[in-house]
Symmetry: C3
Subunit: 154 residues, 3 copies
């Protein structure tokens, strides 16, 4: 891969959102060992959720995949902010929550929309351990939420 | 902040429970890198749950917030035990599970009851990365459960 | 404990499955600090799920415990592969997801089937911090999924 992560993002037409700091809530916390825990990221676009509801009941898989992609972009933005740039970022683990009807079993398909983006942008450094589960509900009835552990490349 | 964490706890009228050791079940595990993983904490008070049920169906947000605060106190007790005292404790990450009806989207509000306590007691060392999700059910039909990663201040 | 982990496995009649590598999906990721995050493990046996459904609705606790045991064996196989053998493996944390009906509160009982196996096989090195929760649904409507953090013994 000769593209930089920034070039890969541009080719995909993705722009990372600005990371806002809050006096109370924090976007991430770095442990003494260098693991950076990113707070659960929602698929906000300019403060709004593009879709709400339960996958397999109110909304379909494709809509959930779009929300998953956005939540992953938001997590990428926090991760890049934490390590000082996308080209220094390595993804370790992603935990994916999909608001799911009890008979919906396609969480891996939804989560793939985020995993694929990470590998497209970061290449080998974007590959990650992953767990995807279906939950009863998420904040503001978002269809997806993403928790990530990242670290700085040394 | 000139108060010690112990003074802050006393002002809040909070007493940490005694941490019991069990030959099989363990309360926490420290990794070689110094991250301390605390087992999922329930809102037990003297072995009893003050409330049970699903938020948004059986019980309301305020009741869930009270349970959240208790579960956080129990996690604080384990964390303080692990590092040798509250004044040596730093919170890294908190994962909050709220038993939720499918249309309940107030998990962040419930989780705030724990986040606020951590910052009240530990100040800057209490700030943490956080994820809050709504789950179908929790052990003994508890309304909340809290998982925490902490470390010792160096 | 004078048995080796391999001897303990043999006594239990358990054979670890072969760990398959995939160009896209990865089974685990090691952080720079030495924590190994294992991807969510399902109770697959030769690519098939022995049971599907929601505990407390479609399937009973004993069936769920059997699936839990299998998912834990699969996680053990990945962990042993990651560190170069069972005798070098230490379990740090296990996060257990049980597909649950809203009134089912027996997640700890289900999770115990995995915790017990880890201690039977690895002894003290198998003891772990644990969180067990009930979720709405899991990939392919599996009744359980297991996420683990492990490390190499030094």
């Amino acid at each position: 891969m000769t593209r930089t992560p920034a070039e890969a993002l541009a080719e995909l037409g993705v722009e990372l959102p600005e990371v806002k700091l809050d006096p109370f809530y924090i976007n991430y916390r770095e442990s003494g060992s260098g693991q950076i825990h990113i707070s659960g990221q929602m698929p906000y676009v300019n403060g709004e959720l593009p879709a709400v509801g339960t996958v397999g009941a109110d909304i379909d898989v494709e809509t959930a995949r779009q929300s998953m992609r956005i939540a992953t972009i938001n997590a990428l933005a926090v991760g890049a902010h934490a390590v000082g740039g996308l080209d220094k970022l390595r993804i370790v683990q992603m935990l994916v929550f999909v608001a799911s009807a009890p008979d919906f079993g396609g969480q891996s398909n939804v989560a793939d929309a985020g995993s694929e983006l990470l590998v497209e942008v970061l290449g080998e450094h974007g590959r990650h351990a992953r767990t995807a589960i279906g939950v009863a509900a998420l904040p503001r009835t978002s269809p997806v939420e993403v928790q990530m552990i990242v670290e700085a490349l040394t």
